[in-house]
Amino acid sequence: MSPVFTAEGWKALRGAWLVLALAVAAGAVFVYGSHWYGLKEKRDSIAAGRSLEEARARLDRARRERDNLNESADVFRMLVARGLLEREHRLDLVEKVNALRSRHQLFSLDYEIAPQRALPLAGGRVFPSVDVLASRVKLRARALHEGDVLAFIDELSRSRQGFYPVDRCTLRRIAGPADELVAHVEADCTLEWITLRDKAGRHD
């Protein structure tokens, strides 16, 4: 039996064995530590790369948004001027309708303004920053000539305050003597009085 593996050998080589064990342990710690550090750096690198890609994408979005906003600034300025982001001023609408009725010499004008509601958009579309609100307005007018009715509707829908898209309208001729000064045309029209509400509440 080799003296290395005798009791005397173990005793004599205790220090050397200990040094070897320490070297193996320290080496293993170093290797594992560096391996762990390398993995951590790799993970960090991947995360940093992802952050970089996200930052680039965010910057691209911001640039596109800035360009879009620059392009949209004039439009938005017009929308603000027309009160799209303001709450309804119903008295203004009542006065406007009355004024237009007189201007276009309508024989009669009946209208209803329904309570304001959230306007459902086609395809269930929603906007993250604004609520689309609308009040449905129904009009029934009688006039001497269909031109008067059309002019009334056209001027209402082209109003400089608010948006009033007419989505349905029926014009029909009323039977009667053509040479008398009575209503010859009757119109039933429906339109949406649309306003927007900022979800952040920065506008009324």
Binding site: P3, G15, S34, H35, S72, F76, V130, P165, C169, R202
Partner: protein, 534 residues
């Protein structure tokens, strides 16, 4: 560093080496006083491994042959033979030198032993007591075979003559480089006898002995190689006479030193320093020391191996760590670049954000508002535009009288506005009797779209001569065609002045007096697609 001991019957020479040089030399008398001095001296060198070369008169040599067997059996045979031959000493050794050329081709074996172990005992006791690692005990005579090769003394019959400290002459006979015999003779010249004469007489006596053992053939010549310092050469060489059977060669110590790389060359004719240098260049195998005697050296070498292994493992781990760290740091450098770029991107983002137009609302509010306007309101159709386009076409058809227009803007191309039935003053004499039409499918009013489609029902009458249904149909179809010619517009006759389909009942009611003209009713469905319009 190593420590060599060269033991003769009268002297122990200690030579401590550093690298390939002898750094310290000291001699001790073979006596109790010498052992005590050696004890004290060795205590200062106790960590260095000791190699003990013996050059003793008590060393015996015997030749033998054994059957050629496997190594394990051979070792057993040799051990048994050694025990039989040298029963009283543990310092025994056997070396297999070759095989017989004829017969069973047995192995040729040389057995050697220090027959009186007591000459070694005092020195080994000191070594053992001081726990000095003993590398081995070597027979200088056996080891001298390496000298023949190193000095190119490749004669068929060579007698190597060396001198030992303490005044003795070693003669070792080699046949074809295999040691066959060795003997130690004290140098004790008689009155009037020179060293050269003594050497000559001793070598002649050795030749005679070997010849009596039939080592030589008729024409064989013994080459006697005498290792001498230049200072002794002049004293020796004149006395050496060559014969047909004996040829002398003087190995000058300077020349030997130059050939073996010994610097400086030994200052005397004794060969112990040559052996030490030869051993440093070509370490020999242990001859006489048992594993028990060598245990401290075994442990020392194991300790060195363990430490070297530890260093190697640690170095390998450090290298591996370095490789890992190099890769990690390369990644770190890349991360730093990414971080710098990230910082620049964030700065640019802040700058872009600050440069965005603001109306007191968030950018998203502005974007959504404009998006809603562009998608839902901007291109929303107007009934007045439709009416104007319709009027322009109707102007080219004075025979057509418009009675009713039902219009709607929707995203549903199949939607149809409701229309009221026209009451005719004078119904035409022939008319189709149809089942009640299915109610129109109104557009869903809840969902507000962009108004891609304008859908209208145009109801009216066409003024034609009485019973000219063909003309009325042509007029209405022409009107529909002209409306279809408008961009993105398609007009279909929903209700014809006279439905002539085979599955429809037709009623005619002609009276005695009929008017000159008639005004049959028609309905057109007009669809204007703003998505398809250029």
């Amino acid at each position: 560093m190593a420590h060599f001991l060269y033991l003769t019957n009268s002297r122990l020479v200690s030579m401590a080496t550093r690298g390939k040089r002898i750094a310290a030399r000291r001699e001790f008398a073979v006596s109790g006083e010498g052992v005590a001095e050696f004890d004290a001296y060795l205590a200062t060198l106790r960590t260095e491994p000791v190699h003990l070369l013996t050059d003793l008169a008590e060393e015996d040599f015997r030749l033998d042959t054994i059957p050629h067997v496997g190594s394990r059996d051979r070792d057993a045979i040799l051990a048994r033979k050694l025990t039989q031959m040298f029963r009283n000493t543990p310092f025994r050794y056997a070396v297999v030198q070759g095989r017989e050329p004829e017969g069973r081709r047995d192995d040729r074996v040389l057995y050697t032993a220090i027959t009186n172990p007591e000459v070694l005992r005092p020195w080994l006791d000191v070594i053992e007591r001081l726990n000095v690692p003993l590398g081995g005990i070597y027979s200088a005579a056996v080891f001298s075979s390496a000298m023949l090769q190193a000095l190119d003394l490749l004669f068929p019959h060579a007698l190597l003559v060396t001198f030992t400290p303490g005044g003795a002459m070693r003669q070792t006979y080699f046949r074809d480089q295999e040691i066959k015999f060795s003997r130690l003779t004290p140098i004790d010249p008689e009155e009037g006898q020179s060293l050269g004469t003594l050497i000559s007489e001793e070598t002649t006596r050795t030749w005679q002995y070997l010849d009596s053992l039939r080592h030589f053939g008729e024409h064989d010549r013994l080459e006697v190689c005498v290792m001498l310092h230049a200072g002794d050469r002049l004293l020796v060489q004149p006395s050496l006479r060559d014969f047909a059977q004996i040829q002398h060669h003087i190995l000058d110590m300077e020349g030997v030193g130059a050939k073996l790389g010994i610097k400086p060359a030994p200052l005397g004719s004794t060969a112990e320093e040559v052996f030490v240098h030869l051993f440093l260049a070509r370490p020999g195998r242990n001859h006489f020391a048992s594993p028990q005697m060598r245990r401290f050296d075994t442990l020392r070498r194991a300790r060195i191996t363990l430490r070297r292994t530890a260093v190697a493992v640690f170095a390998a781990c450090l290298a591996w760590t370095g490789w890992n760290m190099d890769r990690a740091l390369a990644t770190t450098d890349q991360d730093l670049r990414v971080t710098r770029e990230l910082g620049m991107l964030n700065q640019e983002y802040d700058r872009v954000t600050r440069s965005m137009p603001s109306f007191g609302v968030g950018g998203s509010t502005m974007r959504d508002s404009v998006a809603f306007y562009n998608s839902a309101i901007r291109g929303f159709p107007r009934v007045t535009d439709f009416a104007v386009a319709l009027s322009r076409v109707l102007d080219r058809h004075p025979e057509v009288q418009l009675g009713q227009l039902a219009w709607l803007a929707t995203d549903d191309p199949k939607a149809t506005p409701a229309i009221a039935k026209l009451d005719l003053k004078e119904p035409p004499p022939v008319r189709a009797v149809t089942a009640e039409a299915a109610p129109a499918r109104p557009a869903q009013p809840e969902a507000f779209g962009g108004g891609r489609y304008e859908i209208a029902l145009v109801a009216g009458t066409v003024h034609v001569a009485n019973n000219d249904f063909r003309g009325a149909l042509a007029d209405v179809n022409r009107l529909a065609d002209e409306l279809s010619a408008l961009p993105g517009t398609r007009a279909d006759v929903v209700e014809s002045p006279l439905d002539t389909a085979s599955n429809v009942q037709i009623q005619g009611r002609h009276s005695e007096r009929e008017p000159q003209t008639m005004e049959p009713r028609f309905v057109l469905r007009v669809v204007r697609d703003h998505g398809a319009a250029p």
